[in-house]
């Protein structure tokens, strides 16, 4: 049984996708039970996989016992076992949260299909992470993307359809680029297995076909992770999708995209390809810096909390790609650990927004006045996550910034430190407006309690627990940072070897 965890971890969720509509025909709640149970199982299995990888080293699993490179191979190393735990954990947390949130946000007949799509979405993401076969990456990428379009389109407002359509177009372009990249590599090498490709490619680095493939990969994946200026689909998608969708996409989808980018750049291609052949790192450092600053600056200008968080995500993606591009172990550790850290922070923040929407329907920052008294636990979670985004020490945000800054110095690029810190300051600006409104501003009119509808209280426990758990983890992993950092370091050493 345990020997088959490498595939079961995905199959459980994938199989749940058709089971959900079967059991949920009469009552969607059964669908919810299946979805939550499947993600929990998958999370537990991925924990066990991570444990095995850390104690025994790399796991290679042959699908249907077909020997690679002919069959599909699933490979687990510190990097993807780490990301897999993260994805399945968030999928579980969001599933728990979804019950109440979706009930309020969607029409009843859309609930069961939603959970089914949610399962496909998560299974796709996990598949992308687990597989060691490049074509398999594309298959799972399409599964997760198509499910993602549905998850966005069910949003309450009509704008959701447009947002989904925009993402459909751009996402399809991205997927096509990735497919073209895979095709070219296959043409040049005759294999799709990543480890195999890694062995054959170094002789072909000067080949035009290989160079073209690399270009398609980077641009395609950059669209998927919404790297500025290819971010256009993201703000509207996060704003008009149901809260559950925004959370899972912000917390996991872009992270898995970043993971795929790391894999292509450092496993399929080798680090010296980027250094000696294409010099892509200089470009990526520049683009990442622009993304970090632009995302933060545009976020300052937003008045809708979800738009603000969306642009903030665009900035945060810049941190991840910056650490990748610096090509040293310290910065790479920062990148990998930021995949986790940002998922926790942004996940928590989007869940808070979902709770506010559930209770009040408010998304405009100026209407948040007085919420601190009415929803104290939710707002405490918001404050913790916001402080973490700013990078206050003893939160995870500080850990990421520390590694990225020291990594920048290590690479001899001291001028990146102002970029990182300026964005911290901008983050403080846009989050502090919200915190001021929540706790410290008095309502303008005298009749204080009339402003927000009366009787607003704390969100239900099913929403509160996941929200607060993620916020609490921001502090736990901020204090005991050596736990994720040691795994991330192993991954970084492996990637840059």
């Amino acid at each position: 049984m345990i020997a088959h965890f490498p595939i079961l971890v995905i199959v459980v969720v994938l199989l749940a996708a058709p089971i959900v509509p079967l059991v949920g025909r009469k009552n969607w709640v059964f669908g919810w039970y299946v979805a939550t149970g499947a993600t929990l199982l998958s999370f537990l299995m991925s924990l066990s996989l991570l444990n095995t990888v850390l104690t025994d080293g790399r796991i290679s699993y042959w699908l249907g016992n077909w020997e690679p490179p002919f069959g599909i191979e699933y490979v687990y190393d510190p990097l993807n076992a780490f990301v897999l735990v993260l994805v399945s954990f968030l999928a579980f947390m969001v599933a728990v949260y979804a019950r109440k949130s979706l009930e309020a946000e969607l029409q009843p007949d859309r609930l069961t299909p939603f959970y089914s799509m949610y399962m496909l979405f998560v299974a796709g993401l996990m598949g992308m992470v687990a597989t060691g076969d490049l074509f398999n990456v594309y298959v799972f990428l399409e599964i997760t993307s198509l499910a993602g379009y549905c998850l966005i389109a069910v949003g309450q407002k009509r704008e959701a359809l447009m947002a989904s359509f925009t993402y459909l177009i751009l996402g399809t372009i991205a997927a096509t680029f990735v497919l073209l990249g895979i095709g070219y590599l296959y043409m040049a090498t005759g294999t799709l297995n990543m480890a195999d490709l890694a062995q054959r490619l170094p002789d072909l680095y000067q080949s035009k076909v290989v160079l073209t493939a690399f270009a398609f990969f980077t641009v395609g994946l950059s669209i998927k992770i919404a790297l500025f200026p290819l971010h256009n689909w993201l703000p509207n998608a996060y704003t008009y999708a149901p809260s559950v969708t925004s959370t899972i996409m912000a917390a996991t989808a872009t992270k898995v995209g970043a993971y795929a980018l790391i894999r292509v750049m450092f496993t399929v291609f080798q680090p010296d390809f980027e250094v000696t052949v294409v010099h892509v790192t200089q470009v990526l450092i520049f683009v990442s810096s622009v993304a970090i600053l632009a995302g933060s600056i545009i976020a300052v200008a937003q008045t809708d909390i979800r738009k603000m968080l969306a642009y903030s995500s665009i900035g945060q993606i810049g941190y991840i790609t910056l650490g990748i591009a610096l090509m040293n172990e310290i910065a790479m550790t920062g990148s990998v650990v930021h995949i986790l850290n940002h998922a926790l922070m942004k996940g928590s923040l989007f869940l808070v927004v979902g709770a506010i929407v559930y209770k009040t329907g408010i998304t405009h920052i100026n209407d948040f006045i007085g919420l601190g008294k009415k929803m104290p636990v939710t707002m405490a979670a918001f404050t913790i996550a916001a402080l973490s985004m700013i990078g206050v020490p003893l939160t995870v945000g500080f850990v990421s910034k520390w590694y990225l800054a020291i990594g920048s110095l290590d690479a001899g690029m001291w001028y990146l430190i102002p970029v990182i810190l300026l964005s911290s300051l901008l983050t403080a600006v846009y989050f502090w407006r919200v915190i001021d409104n929540i706790y410290f501003k008095k309502p303008e009119k005298e009749n204080a309690d009339e402003q927000t509808p009366p009787g607003i209280s704390e969100a239900p426990a099913l929403m509160l627990v996941p929200t607060f758990a993620l916020a609490a983890l921001c502090v736990v992993f901020g204090i005991f940072a050596s736990v994720p950092v040691s795994i991330a370091e192993k991954a970084a050493v492996m990637l840059l070897r």
């Binding site: 402080l387 700013i390 990078g391 206050v392 020490p393 003893l394 850990v399 520390w402 800054a405 020291i406 110095l409 290590d410 001291w414 430190i417 102002p418 810190l421 300026l422 911290s424 300051l425 403080a428 502090w432 001021d436 706790y439 410290f440 501003k441 008095k442 901020g478 204090i479 005991f480 940072a481 050596s482 950092v485």
Partner: protein, 493 residues
Amino acid sequence: MDIIISASPLYAVLVSLLAVVLIGVSGKNPNLRESWTIVAALIKFSIVVSMLPKILDGKIIEYTVFTMMPGLDLALRVDPLSMFFALTASLLWIITAFYCIGYMRAGKEKNQTRFYMCFAVALSGALGIAFSANLFTLFVFYEILTLCTYPLVVHKQTPEAVRGARRYLTYLLGTSIAFQLSAIFLTYFYAGTLEFTAGGILAGSASNTVITIIFVLFVMGIGKTAIMPFHAWLPAAMVAPTPVSALLHAVAVVKAGVFTLIKVILYVFGVDLLQELGLGVALAYVAAFTIIVASIMALRQDNLKLRLAYSTVGQLSYIIMAVALLTPSGITSALIAVMIHAFGKITLFFTAGAIYIAAHKTKVSELDGIGKQMPFTMFAFTVGALSMVAVPPAAGFISKWYLLLGAFEAHQLVLIGAIVVSTLLNAAYYLPIVYAAFFKPVPLGEGTEMHEAPALMVAPLVFTAIGTLVLFLWPTLLFDLAKLVLASVMGGY
């Protein structure tokens, strides 16, 4: 040097955090709630005092709380230098705790539970700074202190308070993230450690240019010293209730700033390195500029608290100048001034609060004849003012005397001139208040009968005023501690 491993400093830091919880749960019962503050303050002070004999014996107490990640420990260390700040903050917290009760109840302030909770966190932050064993730990507590004082500054929640508090946060958080954190990154990268070490960790690790840049970043990044041009947060913070201005913006927060700077100068750069690069003198000149300009600004303020705030800006730069002279007397002056100025300035703020509560006056021009109505308060004010101007028998004289000695040792005639001029300016903005209070007639329509603030407010301010006099008469403890610090940082002085 003997090192003792003991968790006492950790308990001293944590005791007020525990009080936060107790204050929070007993919010419905004000008497119980306030007694938690007082109990915590007493315990905290006694823990600090219990460590004093060992420190005076030349021992050092260390405790590593946890390792956050490789190279970054949250670790505490109690040495003679930390004692200056820890004793000051923990002793004055007890007194302020009583004063707070009088002020907050007489003023019928809202959100008192939040107020007391944040106040207790602030004290944890202050002691954490005092006891930090490395730059990372110091930065953690520095930021905690900034964040937990924000609700105290914004306390009244009026648009004016929100504006003031925003400026407060912008300056303190902004400088600490933009400059101090950069300096810490660079220090870690070049020195490979953040551990405070007598004699410094940076010497020989980087080029002179880089060290100069790090020094400038530190000076700019420690915004709590209120050195110009990073001083504007301190007047802005005066929108806070007076106990906050008293304990935090005359003692805990601003002293955290100068303490951090002293620590960085002596334990990150080291006296020799700064002397070699001439950076100490440069800093002393910036401080001199701040002193003069702040004194002139103070002269122009009619609002009493604002005048005190600008006076604080100036007085803090005395400390900065003193340590920047890098001579034995200069460093001694800086160390003892941490405590001496705290006693004097907290007295002055206490009196400003008492005048506001008893007579509803906030302006200097309204204080004619108030000495007859509030004799105890104005006696204390006079003592505080004399300490600021440095007139014996107030303790301020001692620190300024050593500052002048230090300036002579460093052969800085310009700085001596600046100290003299600023002393005259200090007299010019404090003594007229004393004169008006005691010798000008009471305005028409006001009685001359005694009308003091509640006893819970008057007793603390008389106590700190007497403390200012006591420190002048028996400064032995201060000098004993200062000698120990000098012995470690100046090698056998």
